[in-house]
Symmetry: C2
Subunit: 204 residues, 2 copies
């Protein structure tokens, strides 16, 4: 039924270390109706990142001009940098019928229902805090202090999880990818997203 | 996550001829967490039907006693006969964590949200009224008059479709079965059905 309808904005949020990026990369391989909203940020570009792919990198001045011009759907300031969602690209993709993945920080996600009442909000959970701790350590790149800070932040972000529509536990990656896709495919069938189709069948 | 939770009441309704029974039979083959609520009725048993499997067959008197005793979740009168959902069996299966399929007439389904605010309501649609007409004729058992009456009834029932949570078109049987199952699996992940799991992860 997807071809008849506007795409769905899909918010995917998770505490750091929950495997959100890996899940999304796999998700795009199995669902060809997805599009990705590249966020804008003022933080410095990191090695391996590509402007326009990883993020749209902006100066503080140009980011603030985008805000003033109403060109960002939502933005937050996080660790001294702006992060936001460029508006036009998202609306264009939705109009084309694409389901648009919006990767938004947990607290920033709280505002998105005001902009897109029809959005689907998915929260990725770690199987346990202990497992999250193990995963952060396994990276081998973080100091003890950073790990403690991330765990504390994860605990804080978990307080918002029940404000999301769906919870997906990332215990097994393949299961988590399938679960996120199941939610998206199910939401495509929501009656309120198919009123035009319903009218067509009624009048057939 | 299903083992931690109470089961979900799943209402499946459809106009006659939309293939609801075939979809449900296939669905039970691929989803082993489902249970089926056998309806009670006062209509006469038909050839091939089994009491307690097809329906619980009752006399008018015993059905009315069940109503008086608060033993039916909902009931409707349809073509001069009562049809209803026995209460205890459904509640027991939900407590065991089973997702319970409630096959309820379209209009009767309108009352079920009052009883089960957490229920998921799925409406099965024909691809078109023309196709529904073809399917009813294909049975070869119905008179022209019956077919006309069923089509008129289907048109009336379609007026309620937007009151359901999800719409599944039965164009291709395998697709329709998969679609219904997708909705059920997705709803298992709804955050409001997983608050206990969330608490466990928060406190882990």
């Amino acid at each position: 039924m997807s071809t008849k309808n506007r795409g769905i904005p899909i918010v995917v949020s998770a505490p750091s270390g929950c495997g959100k990026d890996t899940i999304l990369a796999e998700l795009f391989k199995i669902n060809d109706n997805l599009a990705y909203s590249v966020s804008a940020t003022t933080r410095a570009i990191r090695e391996g990142e590509i402007d326009g792919v990883s993020y749209h990198f902006h100066t503080r001045e140009s980011f603030e001009k985008m805000i003033a011009d109403g060109e960002v759907l939502e933005y937050t300031e996080y660790c001294g940098n702006y992060y936001g969602t460029p508006k036009k690209a998202v609306l264009d993709m939705l109009d084309e019928g694409k389901d648009v993945i919006l990767k938004i920080e947990v607290e920033g996600a709280m505002n998105i229902k005001k902009i897109f009442p029809e959005c689907v909000m998915i929260f990725i959970l770690p199987p346990s805090i202990g497992e999250l701790d193990r995963r952060l350590r396994k990276r081998g790149t973080e100091t003890e202090e950073t790990i403690s800070a991330r765990i504390a932040q994860a605990r804080n972000e978990l307080l918002f999880a029940d404000k999301f529509d769906f919870l997906v536990v990332n215990g097994d990656l393949a299961k988590a990818v399938s679960d996120v896709n199941t939610v998206i495919l199910s939401e495509k069938m929501a009656s309120q997203r198919n009123l035009q189709l319903l009218e067509e069948i009624k009048n057939s």
